[in-house]
Structure formats: structure tokens, C-alpha cells
């Protein structure tokens, strides 16, 4: 039974993905004056100005990174939350129910977030 070995490995991989993409997010949002990359904020001004958000959203790179970051963050966070809940030593049946509830919550949030990223990309293309 490799279940925990598999889940832990993906937990670590998801953590690395979050680290990289959160680093990218912090660079774009908070280091715009230190690293003034024209491709990230092509319209100048603040990174969250609509013109810059729309310009980034027109590319495929940013919607894809949003979805990857969302998936990694949800898996990493919910698996960690599952571990915390399991430390309360619930009975086996409740463990299975909690596992399924967290998986469904994660999939639901991922579906909503993915839809939002695609919708934002389409709006940006029209802008």
C-alpha cells in the first residue's frame, strides 16, 4: 500500500510548485519597481491596474500558471489540513468520509478557480 508515500511525495512536489509560482506572483506584484520587466507590466503603473492585468491575461502563460498554482496550493493545503484532522485520531470510517469531503471540496474549488481563470483570459482577449 503506497498511498501515504504517494500522497506525501505529491505534497512535497506541490509545495515546490507553490514556492516557484508564489515567488513569481510576489515578483510581479511587489517587486515591480526593483525588477521593472516590461513583459509583466507592459502598460506601466501599478501591477494590478486593469490595463496590466488585461495585458498579462491575454497571454496563455498567465492563465496556465494561475491554474497550476491553484491546483498545487489546494492539494498542498488540503492534504496538510487532512493530516491535522487525522491527528485528532478519528475512527476509520470518519477518516474515509473526511478524505472524500476534502477531495470533493478541493475539486470543487479547483473547478471554480479554473473557470475564473479561463473567463478572465477571455475577457482580457476582448479588452
Amino acid at each position: 500500500m503506497m498511498r501515504d508515500q504517494k500522497l506525501w511525495t505529491w505534497h512535497v512536489v506541490a509545495g515546490l510548485v507553490v514556492l516557484v509560482f508564489l515567488g513569481l506572483h510576489m515578483t510581479i506584484m511587489h517587486l515591480d519597481e526593483v525588477i521593472p520587466a516590461a513583459s509583466l507590466n507592459p502598460q506601466g503603473g501599478h501591477p494590478i491596474d486593469w490595463a496590466n492585468v488585461a495585458a498579462r491575461g491575454k497571454t496563455l502563460f498567465f492563465p496556465i500558471t494561475y491554474v497550476v498554482l491553484l491546483g498545487a496550493a489546494l492539494f498542498h493545503g488540503l492534504y496538510g489540513f487532512r493530516n491535522i484532522l487525522f491527528e485528532l485520531n478519528p475512527p476509520g470510517a470518519l477518516k474515509r468520509v473526511l478524505g472524500w469531503l476534502l477531495a470533493l471540496a478541493g475539486l470543487g474549488l479547483f473547478a471554480i478557480g479554473t473557470w475564473a481563470a479561463i473567463a478572465a483570459h477571455r475577457v482580457a482577449l476582448l479588452a
Binding site: M2, T9, F86, E87, N89
Partner: protein
Amino acid sequence: MSNEIRGDVTYRIRRFDPDRDAAPRWQESRIPALPGMTVLDGLWKIKETTDPSLSWRSSCRMGVCGSCGMLINGRARLACNTQISELGSAIVAVAPLPNFHIIRDLVPDLSPMFTAHAALSPFVIREDAAEQENPSGEFGQTPHELEQYLQFTFCIKCGCCMAACPTYATDPAYSGPMPLAQAHRYNTDTRDGGFRKRREALAGEAGPWRCHYAGECSRVCPKGVDPARAIQLMKRQLVLDYLRLWRPRRPAAIIPAPAEVRRRPDVPEPPARTV
């Protein structure tokens, strides 16, 4: 020594007789503290002079057998290896190791620990069983390879690490620091080829995944073993194994005894094998 206790010390001992008590209770005894006296010596003094019904496990009196693990002034230690003077207090509170059922007084039921230990196959596993029974030479191992697991062989299975582990306290499926450190000890031994067999258990709930790296197991170990390190190294090994970035090596080959060597006349023959 500045923390030398002079005069009497008070032992607060957690007592429990399953035939008589509904719950554990505390009992106090005063004994004279002599220089060099260990906590175990004090327990013997109380048993000889005050209460012969007091029960605990002990054997070697030199920190080797691992029998006398107890909670002494809030920390899991060996009673034989702990001088009263080093506690720095005139009160010696002694209780059985936490995280185990109490059989009687200071005697914990360590069988769950040994069951978890046995489940992880803590021995050298090889396919050449005949060679192990009747060795024709030595299994080759360099000093560097020995150093990778040597400290984990110092474990005496006293259970202090298990008593200090906050994860083992709440999760009965978790194997605990001692069994996991011993599984890592054999996984790291180059003479061993049992990684895949042990992985069957380690990859599931019994494995190292619930460890938070609190590090208490390593802090309390009376033999200076670092089980927390073993568990983190084991996690890394299992993650790399899942990602196919690491393959267990073949167990070390036999180095045959040299044939062309002539014994010096002043060196006597070794005694005949008895096993």
C-alpha cells in the same frame, strides 16, 4: 557540584495496582540522597525500607539493557543513568513512560512498540540464506558505509523516544521513532537487501509521514541516537523511490577470505567456531 542535593529528597511516585486502584495515584517517600545516587538506587532504597510492593523494570544498572525507562521530573530517562544530583531538585517525580498502558506502578506495557518494531523487519534481509548460516567470507562494507547507520545501532529499545513523541501520543497507526529509526538503520545497511519488503509497511500509515519533526525523540534518547534524523532521511528515501530517482542497491557481495596468506608463526590460531 553546584546542584548537589544534600540531605533528604522526596520521591513522588505514580502508583497503580490494576487489582486495587481505579486510577493511578501519587505516593511520597523521603530518603537520604547520597553522593552518586541514581534515581534507580532511590527506588531500590524505598522498596527495601518503605514499600516492598513498589514495581518497576530494571536489569543492568548501567544504561545498556533499556529496561528502566521512566518519566523522571517530566522527562523520559533511564532511572539507572540519571543521578539524583543532576535533577537539581529535592523532589524526584517518577511516573511510568507516557503513551503506553500501565501494567503496574512504573511498568509500562511496551508490547505495541515491539509489535511495530517487528512489523518493519528489523534485521538483515538477503536472498543468500545459506551463506548467512554458513558464511564463507565477510560481506564487504566500507567504514564510510558503516557510518551511515552506525549511530542507529546504539538504540537499546528503552522506549523513551516513544514516550516523548507527540505524534505517537495521538496516532496509534504511526509506528513511532524507535521502529522507524531501526527500519532506516537496516535500509541503510549496505549488507541488506530488504528495502522493498520494508517499503510495504513504510509506504502506508505506519510509515514516517505523520512525523512533524518535533525532535523530542532525539532530545530524550539516553544513548545519543537521533531518530528524528533517521525519519527525515527515510522520508527522503521513500519520496525519491516513488519518483524513480533512487533505486535500492544490490546487497554487498561476499569478500572471500584471502587464500594466499600464510599465518605468522607468532600469531596463534583463532579458537574454533562455536556457533
